[in-house]
């Protein structure tokens, strides 16, 4: 559905996109992740044909992206990070305005607007102007304006920034519903847990480059990081820590909340080996958990930077 | 001093706008300083346009005669009368005189000799009729007496007027200096009002936004210190603008300052600045909406300027406007330097009025400000 191939975008000396490639298929939710200034928005703007780019190819719905390609534009929706709504128009009018940019038939539009209002649960506020809405409700309106025309491809740029927990859950649930209806969603966010929950695949960007992509699992497996297992053992043996360090592939053993935190080199048999060790010594354990790498760890591993830099 | 510095920094952001304001003011002031009056009594010259279709000795003599005391422009035949009439409509020209080609025949047959177009409602028209009639009366009288008339000699005779004496107590040069400078200060007063209301209004509206004020309110800064710093910063900007305009005016007219009550003018400018800041204080206590601030600023400044006789002399206005003017501070601002030799005692009343206005606006501002604090 989207194919971006080796796209290069320069702002004078600054390279915003550096041979950036990525693709998405129908019905996928792709998380575009990376710290501020890594080129996420530039990539989206290039896909939307708002920006020129210096090199590379972009295809959407199998067609080359071009400012005059209205057939493609008509199937795309955008939910920008900042609110793009008219302060002087009420909820209904705002959605109708934006929907009207795509749908000319009055009856069809009316139905779509009503559906969008229900979708974001703003029916009670349809006559309210944005000034009278809370931050979360404004965000919902912003989303409704972007999705009312039922796009096949939706770009959502940090739609849950500065939103209360209730509204956030509501929004995330809505996104899942859209996916179920077959909408492809390109989703950028800073909230990693949100991305982990929601996205089918993730593209990690840094300095305009696509540095890794795949499902969370694939990403976790693709990088050579350590595995940590936390175990709470009931024993008086003072040498237990030294014994644990003797296990194969153990890098080090530290203490956390009275438990042992064992750092392994990444290996298939780390957990079975540990269990074998416990059983062989008849030890009793109160807690045993394996910690997998988080997106933050992955990002740190890949770039040496924190994701929220 | 942090608030003080921050406000001055905000003003610095508007430096180009301030520059445009001051440049525009001096362009106007310089333009008007070009046509200032002379040193002694001068007859009122009429601005006349003559279309001479006769081109006879008499008509040429007539033009010479008119030119002796008036500004006369001889137009060619193809000149459109419409354009000349428009000059009368606009008050640029006092009258148009058309001399027909059969001037001689008309004079001989006792028909009216020339056609004049002017605004018949004014004294200027009377003067125009007077001088035109005189020439032809003399031509006719000369012809009746000796059958012929020497136009050149007659013009020499007609050019020799009586001497008009200006009373010794009147210093015309000083009077002209005063007229120009008081117009300059009038205009400066209007400009300062507009300037301060717009610039200070916009700067302070940024400063008075609820979020910012709340942050200041929760800081350990005392309200009194805050007010003092805010007022000082605004006063410094006001003083800067006053000095710029006042000394700019002095520089512009450095040789022609005799008979100008400069001290009173300076005080007047300072007072109108204080008054404007007080108005702004009231507006600021009412709203932080820039649209309202700019709208009110514009309307208050232009409204007061019109009704106080700064744009158009008060005596030319309607009675309603004249009586309203008495109640406006900008009118009293002009009265502080109403006469070249006005004494401090005479200025005192107007000074007092402007000061009282300033104080009352400050009190209103404080009341509104307190209400706002309680409400928030």
């Amino acid at each position: 559905m989207i194919r971006m191939e080796n796209v290069v975008k320069r702002y004078n000396e600054l390279i915003a996109l550096d041979h950036f490639s990525f693709s998405a298929t129908e019905g996928e939710i792709i998380g575009l992740l990376g710290p501020n200034g890594c080129g996420k928005t530039t990539a989206i703007n290039c896909m939307l044909s708002l920006l020129t780019f210096d090199k590379g190819e972009i295809e959407i719905f199998g067609q080359e992206v071009h400012p005059n390609n209205n057939a493609v534009k008509g199937r795309i929706g955008i939910v920008p990070q900042e609110l793009a709504i008219f302060e002087k128009l009420n909820v209904y009018e705002n959605i109708d305005f934006y929907c009207g940019l795509y749908v000319s038939d009055r009856k069809a539009r009316k139905a779509l607007v009503e559906e969008a209002i229900d979708f974001v649960d703003l029916a009670k506020y349809r006559k309210f102007v944005p000034k009278k809405l809370s931050g979360g409700l404004k965000r919902r309106l912003n989303i409704a304006c972007g999705i009312a025309h039922k796009p096949s491809l939706l770009f959502m740029d940090e739609p849950t920034v500065a939103v209360d927990a209730q509204s956030r859950n509501f929004i995330l649930e809505g996104i899942r519903k859209m996916k179920a209806q077959g909408t492809t969603i390109i989703y950028t966010t800073h909230y990693l847990e949100e991305a982990e929950q929601l996205c089918d695949r993730m593209v990690i960007m840094d300095s305009g480059r696509n540095i890794a992509q795949g499902t969370v699992h694939e990403l976790q497996n693709s990088i050579s990081t350590q595995e940590r297992i936390e175990v709470g053992l009931i024993t008086d043996d003072n040498t237990i820590e030294a014994q644990l360090e003797e296990l194969p592939h153990v890098v080090k053993v530290t203490r956390r909340n009275g438990n042992h935190l064992i750092h392994f080199e990444k290996q298939e048999n780390n957990l079975p080996n540990l269990i074998k060790f416990i059983e062989s010594r008849n030890l009793t354990y109160t807690e045993l958990s394996s910690e997998r790498s988080t997106l933050s760890d992955i990002f740190l591993e890949l770039t040496g930077k924190e994701l929220r830099d | 001093m942090t608030v003080f510095k921050a406000i001055l920094l905000h003003f610095w952001k508007y430096k180009y706008l301030i520059l445009i304001f001051l440049t525009a003011f001096f362009t106007f002031a310089f333009g008007f300083s070009q046509n200032s009056g002379g040193q002694t009594y001068e007859s009122e010259q009429l601005d006349l346009k003559v279309i001479d279709q006769s081109r006879s000795e008499i008509s040429r003599g007539f033009v010479d005669y008119l030119s002796a005391d008036n500004t006369v422009e001889v137009m060619n035949d193809s000149t459109e009368l419409d354009a000349l009439e428009e000059d009368i409509f606009l008050g640029i020209t006092d009258g148009i005189i058309q001399i027909p080609s059969d001037l001689e025949a008309r004079l001989s047959s006792s028909s009216p000799a020339v056609e004049i177009i002017s605004d018949q409602r004014g004294m200027v028209h009377l003067q125009l009729e007077n001088i035109v009639n005189r020439y032809f009366t003399f031509v006719d009288a000369g012809r009746t007496t000796s059958g012929t008339v020497n136009i050149e000699e007659m013009n020499t005779l007609l050019a020799d007027g009586i001497s008009v004496e200006m009373h010794e107590s009147v210093d015309v040069a000083s009077q002209n200096n005063f007229v120009y400078m008081s117009a300059f200060i009038n205009f400066a007063g209007y400009w300062i009002m507009l300037f301060l209301l717009i610039i200070v209004g916009n700067v302070m509206s940024e400063f008075n936004t609820t979020e910012l004020r709340q942050r200041i309110d929760v800081s350990p800064m005392q309200t009194r210190a805050l007010m003092l710093q805010m007022i000082t910063a605004q006063a410094i900007i006001g003083l800067f603008v006053v000095c710029f305009m006042f000394f700019g005016g002095i520089l512009l007219r450095s040789d022609e300052l005799e008979g100008v009550p400069l001290g009173k003018m300076f005080i007047a400018l300072i007072l109108i600045t204080s008054f404007t800041l007080a108005i702004h204080y009231v507006i600021g206590a009412m709203t932080t909406n820039k649209f309202i601030i700019n709208g009110l600023a514009n309307f208050l400044a232009i409204g007061m300027a019109f009704l106080s006789g700064i744009m158009i002399p008060l005596e030319l206005m309607g009675e309603a406007a004249q009586s309203i003017a008495q109640y406006l501070p900008l009118y009293h601002f002009t009265q502080i330097y109403a006469e070249p030799d006005i004494t401090w005692v005479d200025s005192g009343f107007s000074i007092l009025i402007v000061v009282l206005y300033t104080i009352s606006f400050l009190i209103i501002g404080m009341i509104l400000e307190n209400k706002r604090k309680i409400a928030s």
Binding site: - | S43, D82, F306
Partner: protein
Amino acid sequence: MMILRMIKYLIIINFKDFGYWFWTLCYPLLLCGLFTMSTPNMSSTEIEDIDVGIEPGHPVAEVFESMDFIALAELSESEAVERMKDGDMAGYIHGENELLVTETGVNQTIIESILDEIKHVSASGIPYQNFDYDREYIIPNSQDAQPETILFYALISMISIYGMFSAIEFISTMQPNLSLMGARFSASPFSKWKFLFSSVASSLLLNIFSNTVVLIAIAILYQMAIFTELWPTLLLIFTANLTGIGIGLFIGLIPGINANIKTVIAVILMIALSSLAGLIGPIIKAVISENMPWLNTVNPLARLTDTMYRINFLGNYNDYWTTIGILALYALLFFGVTFFVLRRKQYDSI
């Protein structure tokens, strides 16, 4: 239909804006009220008697007394000076037909002129009876001077170009490099030209609406008959509306500054153009006509102001079509530039 809907929303957005109501309706009406209050006496300087003082028993008293526009009073010099300083007397005749004054003015010049004539008659050697003072040498025609009407026409000119504010707003909104909404428009299949057309149409409708209200108010509320030629004047105002919108689009295209600063630029431009067209008083108009007549030709507001009073007050249609042409030319020029600049669909940076 999409265009009509767009026009409807653009009008609603402006209509709900305080700025629109204040600047296009309240402000001109308030100014108009101000003008009406401050100008009624401006040009009705009726001929009043000139107060002249004369030395008791002076020989020319008889001549002055015979003139119906002179109010003669016999009094001493010191009394006369006092009255002159109070502005109650124009001049004092004494000695050898000498005139004493304390100020310069038309009234003093008229007295001077009469005294001149007395001197000339006696110096000419022509017998007094040969002077025929009853003969009419003049065919008088009147052209009223009404410079104050310039204020009203300049005001109407100013409001005719107010459409530029909404044009700035709209054009800034539609450019993706200037606004978020612009990015949304550009990414939608709604064409730029339809949006431009809708912007122009809604600016025009809004401004024509407010113009109509102001004109009706001037005619009814202030009882002013300044439109004797209604339809030709309306055509002028309509054309000027297009010029104003064109200027607004042009200003809106300036890159690198936000819509607020553009509005400030427009305000300064509008104040400058309308002041030069006569909004701050007729004197400025006279100064420009005298020294820089070209400025009146290039300033669209001066063109409009001049042509409006020419057709309505002077019945002069000479430059009517030229003015319409110049205003339309300005509009075309600015629309052309806008068209050219907006052809670009993509931006190097947003």
